[in-house]
Each structure stands twice: as structure tokens, then as C-alpha cells.
């Protein structure tokens, strides 16, 4: 298991050092500094073995976090723990910086004592930790016996991520479906590869211990229901807002926050859980089939003689006319020997950026089912370089108010039997945001 945990600043000075195992000595602190932080060459692996001691590190801005061990530990777990450690620290004191770490070193030691015992990660959910590790020190004496046992049962319990007794005057929840759409298209408009990676982020402000059930237009579920003839779906719970009329989507794979009952998902494909309080990521998913590509890029590059290129690029928006795409940016690469560029565009602003070897065309907003065009003349310096210009792909950035995968939230039901509010009293908000990931068209 983890033998020790060190935090360094960018100079390699130790800010926090906590040793859990006897086989890790003080010299390990220096070994990492000398061999990794001060290494002459940039380190080429996040796992380093120095004199039979293994160091795992992650960097957050200019802070190094290193876990040390001499055993055959679960490497994936160590990294997951380091990320978790970062999350916990961020939840307690904001950005991970040298100043913040120094200011909170007592708190960090206290946290490290709690979430790592003899190198074994323990409950590290901030929701639970905040009930008994506070910056004021443990309330200790003021707690009643009930309160204490409530804390311990939460820390060790099945619902370690939520404490009991949360109360809100207004029960409210926000769902964000955040997708990034990736595309590689041939000059002829053929899709070479496309996938969407999406996340469902939930912000919940609900009283008590609410039991939630989340439904989306997952093909497997819809098909099953279609056969069974039972539709759980009621008119009210349809929170959909996407642009597509698609009935259901095929999800390649998804992962869930630990609050979701995985065995239930595996057997019934239903997503049920008791959510943590506040913001968290409910699920991640990936789809590759029937993706709505919000934009199509049609390039036309013509070489006029040896010193001139004519480029024409048309972009077409491919979604409901009532919706607006934002922050559109098209990046057209230019050859290295470009001497001058003249651009004409109907919409937005375009500029040749010599330092980036590209024409950058920006459009603030664009409605669906529209098209726009840019044409450019590129003057080239004559070179005797035989090497042909490799023609990097044209890339695009944008943001659209729907989910390119076609995912729709069908319902999110909330049941809290002990408190007197029902599913209808909860105010629910759903938002869809589709962003470009790597969205490229070859030319």
C-alpha cells in the first residue's frame, strides 16, 4: 500500500510530508526531488522507480503530489486516490497552490490522517469529511452522542457521500448534459470517425435522504418498454429539449458516480441513487452511432501556380433553425511559406495569424440550417523545398444548446418518504450543451 505522501512546490521544497510505512525513509523525499522535479530531462512517466521505491506523481498547477511505495500496490488506485486528494483539498480551501497548502497544512495533515490509514484509502467523500473535520477543529465536546454516532455511521455507512438531516426550503435540482463531439471527416464529406463523450452533471439541493431515479432515452430501455407495452414515461416528466426527433440512442459505454446502484443498472438498466448534496458528476457516457454533427465544413483548396493558393471554405449548420450556435471558430491552416493572405468572409471576422500558420475565422452566433462562406487567397514565397505541404486538417470550435448524441433526459424522479415533499414539489432544470472536441475536416 501507499507508504508515504509528499507535496512539493515547484522548486521541490516539501510542503507536506506524511509517512505511513516504515520502509519509507526521509531520503525518499529527496530522491523524488532530485530524480523527478529537478531532473534534467522532463520526466516521461507518471510512475518512477528509484532504487526499488516507486513514486507516483500528479501535478496541479505548479504543485507536485507524490505517493511513494515499496510494494506492488494497485497503481490505478493510487492515482485515483491522488486525484481524490486534490478534489478534497479543493473542496476545503479552493485552488491547490503553495500559499493555500501552507495556510492549511494542519488541516491537510488532519485530512491525510483520516483518508489514508496505514496507506489504505478510507472514506474520502467531502460531504462526509466536512461533518467532522472542520477548520475550527472538531466540535468535539459540543456534540451529543447521537451526533457522534451519526457521523461515524455516515463515514462507514453505505451512503458515505451524504449526511443526514439536510434541509432546504426549496427543493431544487439542476441537470447539465455536457457533451463534446469529435469528428474526423474526409475532404469529400465522408465521416472517418466520430464520437461523443458526454457527462451528466447534477446539482442537487434536496432535503433528507431522497431516493432518485434517472431516465434517459437509452435504446435498450426504450426497446424493452416497447415490447412490454408499459410506459413509465409521463407527459410531465419529459424534460427533453434536444433538436432531434430521435426516439432513442445507443450508448456504447457509461460509468457512474459511486452513489448509483450498479447491480441494479446491470440487471434492470435503471439508474437509481441517493445523490450527494451539491454538485457532482452523475455519469459519463460515450456514443458513436447516429451522432448529429452540428456543422459541416466543405473545403476547397486550389493551387494556382507555385506561389498562390485559393481557399474556399463553406460551413453549414445542421440543426433546428430556432437554435443558436455560439463561439464558432474555424481554423484554416496555411503553408509555412505563406507571404500574404487576403480574406473575404460574409459573416464574422477572419484574420491571418502568421505565428500560428492559420487563418482564424470567428463567428459569434449562427442559427441552424444556415451556411456561411470564407474565401482566401494565399500568396506563397517560392521555395526549392521539394517537400510537399502536409495540409493539416481544418479544425472547428463551437458550442450548441443541444446534445449531439441525441440523448434526452426523460425523467428524474425524487422520492423522499420521510419528509413531506413529493416529486412534484421539486423544481427541476435541465440544460444541454454540446461543445466541439476535436472536430476536424481534412482538406
Amino acid at each position: 500500500m501507499i507508504g508515504g505522501l509528499f507535496i512539493y512546490n515547484h522548486k521541490g521544497e516539501v510542503l507536506i510530508s506524511r509517512v505511513y510505512r516504515d520502509d519509507i525513509g526521509r531520503n525518499a523525499v529527496d530522491a523524488f526531488r532530485v530524480n523527478v522535479i529537478h531532473a534534467r530531462q522532463q520526466v516521461r512517466s507518471p510512475v518512477t522507480n528509484i532504487a526499488r521505491t516507486s513514486f507516483f506523481h500528479v501535478k496541479r498547477s505548479n504543485i507536485w503530489l507524490a505517493a511513494v511505495t515499496k510494494q506492488n500496490v494497485n497503481a490505478a488506485m493510487v492515482f485515483e486516490f491522488l486525484y481524490k486528494m486534490c478534489d478534497v483539498m479543493t473542496a476545503y480551501f479552493g485552488k491547490i497552490s503553495e500559499e493555500n497548502i501552507k495556510n492549511n497544512f494542519v488541516l491537510i495533515y488532519e485530512l491525510l490522517d483520516e483518508i489514508l490509514d496505514f496507506g489504505y484509502p478510507q472514506n474520502s467523500e467531502t460531504g462526509a469529511l466536512k461533518t467532522f473535520i472542520t477548520q475550527q477543529g472538531i466540535k468535539g465536546q459540543s456534540q451529543t452522542k447521537e451526533e457522534q454516532s451519526q457521523i461515524t455511521s455516515q463515514v462507514t455507512g453505505q451512503i458515505g457521500w451524504r449526511r443526514e438531516g439536510i434541509k432546504y426550503r426549496r427543493n431544487e435540482l439542476f441537470l447539465d448534459v455536457l457533451e463534446s463531439v469529435n469528428l474526423l471527416m474526409s475532404p469529400q464529406g465522408q465521416v472517418l470517425s466520430a464520437h461523443v463523450s458526454g457527462r451528466v452533471v447534477m446539482k442537487s439541493y434536496l432535503s433528507g435522504m431522497p431516493e432518485c431515479k434517472f431516465g434517459m432515452n437509452d435504446k435498450i430501455v426504450i426497446d424493452k418498454q416497447g415490447k412490454g407495452g408499459t410506459t413509465e414515461d409521463t407527459g410531465k416528466s419529459d424534460l427533453g429539449g434536444g433538436s432531434s426527433g430521435k426516439q432513442s440512442i445507443a450508448i456504447d459505454d457509461c460509468t457512474f458516480h459511486q452513489c448509483v446502484r450498479l447491480s441494479k443498472f446491470d440487471s434492470e438498466r435503471s439508474i437509481s441513487f441517493i445523490p450527494p448534496d451539491g454538485e457532482y458528476e452523475l455519469m459519463r457516457y460515450r456514443t458513436t452511432k447516429d451522432i448529429i454533427l452540428p456543422f459541416r465544413v466543405i473545403p476547397l483548396v486550389r493551387e494556382v501556380g507555385r506561389t498562390k493558393l485559393e481557399v474556399k471554405v463553406v460551413i453549414k449548420s445542421n440543426f433546428k433553425p430556432s437554435l443558436l450556435a455560439q463561439k464558432i471558430e474555424v481554423r484554416i491552416p496555411t503553408p509555412l511559406n505563406t507571404s500574404g493572405v487576403q480574406v473575404i468572409c460574409m459573416k464574422g471576422k477572419a484574420k491571418y495569424k502568421a505565428s500560428e500558420n492559420a487563418i482564424v475565422w470567428k463567428i459569434k452566433r449562427m442559427a441552424g440550417m444556415k451556411e456561411s462562406q470564407i474565401s482566401a487567397e494565399i500568396e506563397l514565397l517560392p521555395t526549392n523545398d521539394k517537400k510537399k505541404w502536409a495540409r493539416p486538417p481544418i479544425s472547428m470550435n463551437f458550442e450548441v444548446p443541444f446534445a449531439p448524441s441525441g440523448l434526452k433526459v426523460r425523467y428524474l424522479k425524487v422520492f423522499e418518504s420521510k419528509l413531506n415533499y413529493s416529486d412534484h414539489d421539486v423544481i427541476k432544470w435541465v440544460r444541454y450543451i454540446g461543445r466541439s472536441g476535436i472536430y476536424e475536416t481534412r482538406c
Partner: protein
């Protein structure tokens, strides 16, 4: 940079509000005194501030142990924050101040009874971290209570505490029955308690490989699977990792466990996913392939593995290293997922390199076009390592997918045209391999390759190019010129290139004998006379002799048809792969090495193996189950790219025809050459009085003529050569000349070197007894309340003994002696109890001999031969440490076979060699050899070069480590030079010290 600056400003503003960072800044003198005063202050706030300062100093590495009593005094407080800080301090310094640490015991014991479960847990958690024996004794009772505490938080903490205690004193844990309590906790109602108990038991079981501690049976498995659904993400990892060690009784049980584990594949925590994959990969072995479920499971594995690639880069790296293993074991899982391994522009380099590896593994006819297009892109990136790997990958594609070979070759040629130096060199290295896979197909490109000859500056590329020139000498008009150009700087080339050049020129000679005679003579003489590299010399002699005695055979040997190279390269050896599959998710799977390669001590030494459906229900740990494991169609293992060249050379030496049986026992290729010499040339050089049966020697004996001056007969023609070479008298004389200079050199390096090396003439003689160091005082009476122990170590006929004199200098009688060793580098442990039957009265001394075994627990010590000993008597326990001569551990059977020695010496990388000087030693080499033999350091061979005696020696340690030594003794010079080579270079220093003591006494 700008961003950093902004951030710093931001932090400053932040910092002005909070002020804890000030504790890091005090560095003035007299600080300790000030802190002392503050710690003893009456004001609580001031105390707390002071403790914070102490902790801050401790963090940055300052020694604040002097404040121990003052800090401990702050412990009795109701302020929990302060208490935790004091505990933190205690954990750090208790070991250095064991007596003072006792002061804290009372508070701990009291806290363990506190009403607040958080405090109870805190106390038991901290106590377990204080590694002082006295404290541990007091820990037992509170721990026992806490293990049965009503609060699960306390129980889960106590469970881990058992593992802590076991690490300090394993015997105590067993004696106190904590292991049984821990086992009971597996049935606890709280999932987190179960998870921690599993973690603790797994760890304890690891250090007792044969114990049945983790008694996994269907009932406990069921409990674990239930807890799996309920516990924290970390708990799930502990449980899954534990499950992976279980061997289901039959395929049905296997399936039902798999069914209950598969939901974990959707967990957001990648470690949970990987551990679940491990369980599934392992248990899948048990399932019959025709089962529907088997197919379902295979399909279920792909998506989560792909999803892992969207995690943070560090985790992606871990995932990719594991996928690399999974793809080798079960290529079908990810065969359709090639695209996800395409490299992204902003991937960190370590992710890029790993993705590239997997792309090659997944390359097939179906996707090769796409893969090639990608690889071509990569070859134009900036990072040199990545580009090199991409170029190499193109070559591997060509070898793997025949249909793509042509396209790959043309891509490589395009890349060569870029003239980027390292790209060209990599391309040439892989083209060489392509030639070997598809002979007589792409040789048209040789001309292009030759254009780049000058730009090659890396040995591997140079060697590859030379191989190509030699192999296709008949098609390259100016092959002789090309090779000659390399020959100019022969001595500056690396061995790899030299060897290759030698072979290439011999090939050239056999193909075009007329024009290249001079060249071949030149290279043979360079190799045999001017080089001090034994490999090169040996190969030179072999060629020489082959060419001179039987040119037909030479042709058969040197120009033999080479077997085609295999498709897959870089595959992990199947048994290792199986073991690594059992370690999915762990460091072993990241390093692609078994845990024993990087974990010290007994942990991880046990090798895990996959159990197949044919396997019985036996425990996986037992090594013999593994033998039942079946791997259908085991992939052919061929050495990695780097070794291919060596392979080529080896092949050149091993004739497929009847020129004599190739050495079958040779462990490596270098040895192949040695063996030929040892066997074939023995008669030749073994006895100098007999004229060696080299025909040319009788022709022109002792000819001082340099070889190239000998005229070649005018009627010598290539047709004749092609025909009956052996019988042609022309050949005889034509060839007879070159080695004419040989005899002169023959006597010097060969008989002086090889002969002596292989035949130990004067090695024997008297064997001297073992050197026993005199007894020294280990434990002075002052430190041990009157008990003085002095002692030494002896090895007598294979038994190690610790001989001690115990001297009672106190006023009272001493009795009830017992001894214990701390874990040490070689697992030394008392083989029996310390036999002191009678009490020792005051001023009496007694001799005791304690036989030692080397099977105790292992931990690396500094220095390596350090031994920490605890001796107990009726008065107290005393600790001392002593150093044993490492020769105690040299086995009697430490004499290595000569040939094994040679091979091993070469096999051990040069960075493992260390050289020492032994000064002022006046023994001659034979006496030294005798003396050393007494300590089980065996001389295997001796040779004399220029008045310097070289002794080649070997010794074997009890843990199986071999140490090889070369001892150089020069007559009249009292300084010896010793070079030690060992796979575990840490021991060298110790061995050297031992040499010194043995030789000087």
C-alpha cells in the same frame, strides 16, 4: 508564465487573510529554545501555535526531536486539533525516543475508552503507528476492545491496526489471537469494516505465503460479494483484489462470481474497473469457450477498457500498460477498437508511446491502411523518441501484415527522403528486418539506402546497414568500397558494428573472392590481433580457421539460409504474461515485471499463475497449479528488435548442415562462439608442443611477413573457386598466405589467454581454512545493564553460527536468555533458541553458539550485512547491531562452470560492474586463490597477461545471487584490482570488504 505570476498574486491576497504559512518561515537560531518556552506556556493558544511551528519544521526536514518531552506534555488536552498535532509528532519521533514515548501510553489507553467514537478510533489508529515495542504491548488490550467496539468506525480502524501491529510484531498478533478476530470481521454487518478487514488480512497473508489465512471458500466469497455492492470505492478495490486470488471450484461458480462482478465495470473509479477486469480475466480461464456466457463476457470487457482512455492522463497510462497485456492475452477483446488508440495531438508523451505499442498489436489486414496513414503522420512530429517509435512501428506493420509490406516500404523510403537523421537511421534498422522477412522482394531499395551511408552515426543503424551490404554483396557493385570505408575507423566502432563488419566482409569474400582478399585479411587481422574484445577475436579466429581449412564449409556456414523472422515482436513471455494478468491494475502490470523484480523481501515473491478450466480447485498460490494452465497456440517468442541483430549473427555461426553439431547446451549466442572454440580448438591450442593441424602453419611457419604482402597466384580464378575449392591447390596457397602471421600472434594471446582460461593449471593446492574474524564487542556492558556480549560469525561445513561470549559484569545473576533478529538483507534468523542453560553469575562469562538459518524474513539493511539483534534476559531487553562477513553466506557449491561463467559475465550489464582496489596485499595469486577458497570464493580460471595474473572467481550467496569476480594481481605490486559483477550490484561493496579482510588476515 504569465499565468503563474497571476496565480501567485492571487495567492498573496489570499494569504493575507490566513496566516498558517508563517510557520514555515522561522529559521533563526535559538529557535528550539524559543519553541520550548512556548510549548510550556500556560496559554492554550500559544501552546497550539508552538506545536504547529514544530510540525512545520518537521515537515521541511528539521530535526525537532529535542522537543519530545515538551510536545508530549501538550498531549493531555481536550482540544482535538492540538491532540492530533501531538500525535503526528509522536508518530514521527517515538522511535528515536522510545523511553519517552512511554509517557504517552496513559493518554492513549485513556482515549481508547473515550465516549466519543472518533477519539477512540484516533487513539487506536495512532498507537498502531508508533513502532515502539513497549507501546505495542500496551496496545493489545485496547485493540482487542476496539475490534469489538459497538461503533463501526472504531472497528474499521481497529481492523487496519491489526495489520500495523503485525508489521511490527507478527508473533504478538498471532499469540494474541487477533487474526481470528480479524477473520470474524469479514462477516461484519458494516461493509467498510469488511473491506478493511479484507485489506488487512490480504496484506498479512502476503507475508505468510503458505498460511491459510485468507481462507476463501464459497461462504466467505458470498459475503465479500455482498459487501462489494455496499462499500466505498476503495473498499471495492480491496475486495476485488482479494477475490482475484480465489480459485473457483468449477466453471459454474466461476460464472456466478463473474456475473456479480461485471456491474463494477460501470464504476466511475478506474481502479475499481481495472480490478474488476482482473477478476474477470482470471476467472474467464475457467469458463468453457463454447459457453454463451463466455462470449457475452468478452463483449462486455471492451467498452469499459475503451472508457478508461478518457480518464486523466496518468490513469490512461496505467490503463494502456494493462491493455497492452490484455491484448496479448486475448486479442479478440479489442480487435475492433483500433481507432481509440490513435494518438491525439495533446496526449502526454508517455500516453503517446503506449498507444503506439497497442496500435501495432492490433494492426491487422482489416485496419492496416488506417494505421499506416496514422503512423506516417506521427513520423513527422517533434518528439524524437515518439518519431523513432513510429518509424519502427511502420516496419513492424510490414512484418506483421504481409499485404501491407509494399506500402510500408514505400512509406519508409519517403521518410528516408526527409533526410532527418534519426528517421533515416530508424528506417534502415527496420528495413533490415523487412529484408529478413521477405527475402528477394524489396532489394531494389538498397541503392537508396546506400546513399545515406555517411549520415549513419548510431551503432544499431550502422550495423544494420553493414548487414544489408554483406548480405546482398553480390548485388551491390561497390560493396567492397562501402565496407572498406567502415573499416578505416574499425577500432572506434562499437562491438556490435565490429562484429557485423567482420561477418559482412567474410560474406563478401565468399561471394566475390577475387577482389576482396585484401579486405578480408585486413579485417581478420584487425579482429584477431589488434582487438582486445574476446568476442571479436573468437569470431575472427573461427572465420579464419573455417576459411583456411574448409572453404566449402565456410560457405555453408556463413551463407546459410536464415530462417524467416517471426511476425510478432516484443511479446511478453507467456508465463510472465500469465503472472502479469493476475496483477492487472498493480505496479507489476505497469512495469511489466513480476513483483519480485521490484519488491523487497518476502512480499510478492510468490508467483501468481492463471488457473485454467483444466485446473483443480487448488489454491492459486501453489506453484504447481500453474503448470496445468493451457494457452492455446502459444505465440512464438522471439527476441525484441534490439536482439535481432545478435540473432542474425548467431545464425551465421550455426551451420544447418553437417559441419559439426551446433552447440546445443550453449545458453546464449556469445557462448555459442565460445563453445566452438573450447571444443573445436582445444586440441589445436591445448598443447603447444604438438603442431596444430593448420595446414598453413606448416607451409610458412613463423612467417614474419605481413599477410597483405603475399602475392596471390596469377592463375587464381573465380570459377575455380566456385567449383572445387577445397581440393584446389591454388586455393591452398592463395589462402595460405593470409594467416601466415597467425602463429606468432597465436602463441601470445591464445595460449596466454584462452588456454589458461579454460584449463586451470595451478589453481589447486592446499585449501586453507575459513577466515574467522576475531570476536568484537557488540554490546558494551554500559548499555545493557551489565551484560557484555562479544561475538563473531563462523561458517563451518555449510552451517552458519553466531559465536558469542556473554559476560555478566553486573552484580546480580542473569538468566532466561532469549534472542531475536530483526529482518535483514539475507533473511538470517536463529535456527533454534539461544541455548544458555545455566544462569550466569556476576563476573562469569559463558560461551554460546547459535546456529543460524537463512530463511527468515527479508528486509534490505544499510549497510547490507547489518544485523540488528535483540537479546532478552531476566533484567531487560537489549538491542545491538553487528555486521557479519558476507562470506558467511557463500555456499560451498559456488563454483561456476567456466562456460556459464563466461556467458554470465557477458550477460550482466556493464553498469553492474564495480571495481575496487585492495592495497598492501603481499600474497601471490595462488596463495590468494587458496585463501579465498577457504571462504567459498572459488577460482574458476586463471590467465596471465603481461605479467599480470587474472583470477576469475565466483561465489554464490544463500539467496541464490551469484557474484562474479576478476582479481588482477601483478607480481611486485601490492595493490590488487578487483572487478565484481553481479545482478544485484548492491552486494558488491560487501563482497569487496570481505575480500579485503580475508586477504589481509
Amino acid at each position: 508564465m504569465q499565468e503563474w505570476a497571476n496565480q501567485l498574486c492571487e495567492n498573496r491576497q489570499f494569504g493575507s487573510k490566513m496566516t498558517d504559512s508563517k510557520y514555515f518561515t522561522t529559521t533563526k537560531k535559538g529557535e528550539i529554545f524559543e519553541l520550548k518556552a512556548e510549548l510550556n506556556s500556560d496559554k492554550k493558544e500559544k501552546k497550539k501555535e508552538a506545536v504547529k511551528k514544530v510540525i512545520a519544521s518537521m515537515t521541511v526536514g528539521k530535526d525537532v526531536s529535542a522537543l519530545f518531552p515538551d510536545v508530549v506534555n501538550c498531549m493531555q488536552t481536550d482540544n482535538l486539533e492540538l491532540k492530533k498535532l501531538v500525535y503526528l509528532y509522536l508518530m514521527n519521533y517515538a522511535k528515536s525516543q522510545p523511553d519517552m514515548a512511554i509517557m504517552a501510553v496513559n493518554t492513549f489507553v485513556k482515549d481508547c475508552e473515550d465516549l466519543n467514537p472518533l477519539i477512540r478510533a484516533l487513539a487506536v489508529r495512532t498507537m498502531g503507528c508508533i513502532r515502539v515495542d513497549k507501546i505495542t504491548e500496551y496496545l493489545c488490550e485496547p485493540l482487542r476492545k476496539c475490534l469489538k467496539d459497538e461503533d463501526p468506525y472504531v472497528r474499521k480502524t481497529a481492523a487496519v491496526c491489526v495489520a500495523k501491529l503485525h508489521d511490527i510484531n507478527a508473533q504478538l498478533v498471532e499469540d494474541q489471537g487477533f487474526l481470528d478476530t480479524l477473520k470474524d470481521l469479514i462477516s461484519d454487518s458494516n461493509p467498510m469494516v469488511v473491506a478493511n478487514a479484507v485489506a488487512a488480512l490480504s496484506e498479512i497473508a502476503e507475508s505468510h505465503p503458505n498460511s491459510n489465512l485468507l481462507d476463501l471458500n464459497p461462504q466467505t466469497i458470498n459475503k465479500l460479494l455482498t459487501a462489494l455492492n455496499e462499500c466505498t470505492e476503495w473498499g471495492q478495490i480491496f475486495i476485488l483484489d482479494c477475490l482475484a486470488n480465489y480459485s473457483p471450484r468449477d466453471d459454474r461458480e466461476s460464472q456466478s462470481i463473474c456475473e456479480r462482478v461485471t456491474p463494477r465495470l460501470s464504476h466511475a473509479n478506474s481502479a475499481v474497473v481495472l480490478s474488476a477486469v482482473k477478476v474477470l480475466m482470471k476467472f474467464m480461464e475457467m469458463l468453457p469457450k463454447d459457453l454463451d456466457y463466455y462470449g457475452t463476457l468478452l463483449k462486455k470487457l471492451a467498452p469499459p477498457l475503451v472508457t478508461l482512455l478518457s480518464a486523466e492522463p496518468e490513469l490512461q497510462y496505467v490503463a494502456l500498460r494493462n491493455i497492452n497485456l490484455i491484448v496479448q492475452r486475448r486479442p479478440e477483446i479489442l480487435k475492433h477498437e483500433m481507432k481509440v488508440f490513435f494518438v491525439k495531438y495533446n496526449d502526454p508523451i508517455y500516453v503517446k508511446l503506449e498507444k503506439l505499442d497497442i496500435m501495432i498489436r492490433l494492426a491487422s489486414q482489416a485496419n492496416i491502411a488506417q494505421v499506416l496513414a496514422e503512423l506516417k503522420e506521427y513520423a513527422t512530429e517533434v518528439d524524437v523518441d515518439f518519431v523513432r517509435k513510429a518509424v519502427r512501428a511502420i516496419g513492424r506493420c510490414a512484418i506483421k501484415v504481409e499485404q501491407s509490406a509494399e506500402r510500408c516500404v514505400s512509406t519508409l523510403l519517403d521518410l528516408i527522403q526527409t533526410k532527418v537523421n534519426y528517421v533515416v537511421q530508424e528506417a534502415i534498422v527496420v528495413i533490415k528486418d523487412i529484408f529478413r522477412k521477405y527475402p528477394n522482394k524489396y532489394e531494389s531499395v538498397i541503392a537508396t539506402l546506400c546513399e545515406h551511408l555517411e549520415s549513419l552515426d548510431e551503432p544499431e543503424a550502422r550495423a544494420a546497414m553493414i548487414w544489408i551490404v554483406g548480405e546482398y554483396a553480390e548485388r551491390i557493385d561497390n560493396a567492397d568500397e562501402l565496407l572498406e570505408s567502415f573499416l578505416e575507423g574499425f577500432h572506434d566502432e562499437s562491438t556490435q558494428v565490429q562484429l557485423q563488419l567482420l561477418t559482412a566482409i567474410v560474406k563478401l569474400f565468399l561471394k566475390k573472392p577475387t577482389e576482396t582478399q585484401e579486405l578480408v585479411q585486413q579485417v581478420l587481422s584487425l579482429a584477431t590481433q589488434d582487438s582486445d574484445n574476446p568476442d571479436l577475436r573468437d569470431r575472427g579466429y573461427i572465420y579464419w580457421r573455417l576459411l583456411s581449412t574448409d572453404p566449402v564449409a565456410a560457405k555453408e556456414v556463413v551463407l546459410a539460409e536464415k530462417p524467416l523472422i517471426s511476425e510478432e515482436t516484443d511479446l511478453i513471455e507467456p508465463t510472465l504474461l500469465e503472472e502479469l494478468i493476475c496483477h492487472i491494475g498493480t505496479l507489476a502490470s505497469v512495469y511489466h515485471k513480476p513483483p519480485s523484480a521490484f519488491v523487497e523481501g518476502s512480499r510478492g515473491v510468490q508467483h501468481k499463475r492463471l488457473t485454467s478450466s483444466a485446473g483443480s480447485g487448488e489454491s492459486v498460490e501453489s506453484p504447481d497449479t500453474g503448470s496445468a494452465a493451457v494457452s492455446e497456440a502459444p505465440p512464438t517468442v522471439i527476441p525484441s528488435q534490439g536482439d535481432l541483430l545478435g540473432d542474425l549473427l548467431n545464425l551465421d555461426l550455426t551451420p544447418p548442415t553437417s559441419t559439426g553439431p551446433p552447440p546445443t547446451t550453449a545458453p546464449g549466442m556469445q557462448l555459442g562462439a565460445m563453445d566452438l572454440l573450447g571444443g573445436g580448438l582445444d586440441s589445436l591450442i591445448g598443447d603447444e608442443s604438438e603442431p596444430p593441424p593448420i595446414p598453413l602453419r606448416t607451409d610458412t611457419p613463423q612467417s614474419p611477413q605481413p599477410p597483405h604482402q603475399s602475392p596471390s597466384p596469377p592463375h587464381y580464378s573465380p570459377t575455380e573457386l566456385g567449383g572445387d575449392i577445397g581440393g584446389s591447390p591454388a586455393m591452398g596457397t592463395g589462402f595460405g598466405a593470409p594467416p601466415a602471421a597467425m602463429p606468432a600472434s597465436f602463441n601470445a594471446p591464445i595460449s596466454g589467454g584462452l588456454d589458461d582460461l579454460f584449463d586451470l593449471g595451478g589453481g589447486g593446492g592446499l585449501t586453507m581454512g575459513t577466515y574467522i574474524p576475531p570476536k568484537s564487542v557488540w554490546l558494551p556492558a554500559m548499555k545493557a545493564k551489565g551484560l557484555e556480549i562479544s561475538g563473531t560469525f563462523v561458517r563451518r561445513s555449510g552451517v552458519i553460527q553466531m559465536e558469542m561470549t556473554l559476560n555478566n559484569k553486573a552484580m546480580s545473576v542473569m538468566s532466561d536468555f532469549a534472542i531475536q533478529f530483526n529482518r535483514n538483507s539475507f533473511g538470517l534468523a536463529p535456527a533454534g533458541p539461544l541455548q544458555i542453560l545455566t544462569p550466569i553469575s556476576p563476573n562469569q562469562s559463558i560461551e554460546a553458539a547459535l546456529p543460524l538459518s537463512t530463511v527468515g524474513p527479508v528486509m534490505k539493511m544499510e549497510p547490507l550485512n547489518n544485523l540488528q539483534v535483540a537479546v532478552k534476559n531476566n533484567i531487560d531487553v537489549f538491542y545491538f547491531s553487528c555486521q557479519y562477513p558476507i562470506s558467511m553466506l557463500f555456499l560451498e557449491d559456488g563454483k561456476m562452470e567456466r562456460q556459464v561463467f563466461l556467458a554470465t559475465w557477458k550477460d550482466i550489464p556493464n553498469e553492474n560492474e564495480s571495481q575496487f582496489q585492495i592495497k598492501d596485499c603481499h600474497l601471490n595469486s595462488d596463495a590468494a586463490s587458496n585463501k579465498l577458497q577457504g571462504s567459498n570464493i572459488f577460482t574458476i580460471a586463471k590467465r596471465t597477461v603481461e605479467g599480470q595474473d587474472m583470477l576469475y572467481q565466483s561465489m554464490k550467496l544463500t539467496n541464490g545471487i551469484w557474484v562474479l569476480a576478476e582479481l588482477r594481481v601483478q607480481a611486485g605490486n601490492p595493490n590488487y584490482t578487483i572487478s565484481l559483477k553481479c545482478r544485484a550490484p548492491e552486494v558488491s561493496q560487501c563482497v569487496f570488504q570481505n575480500y579485503e579482510t580475508v586477504l589481509k588476515n
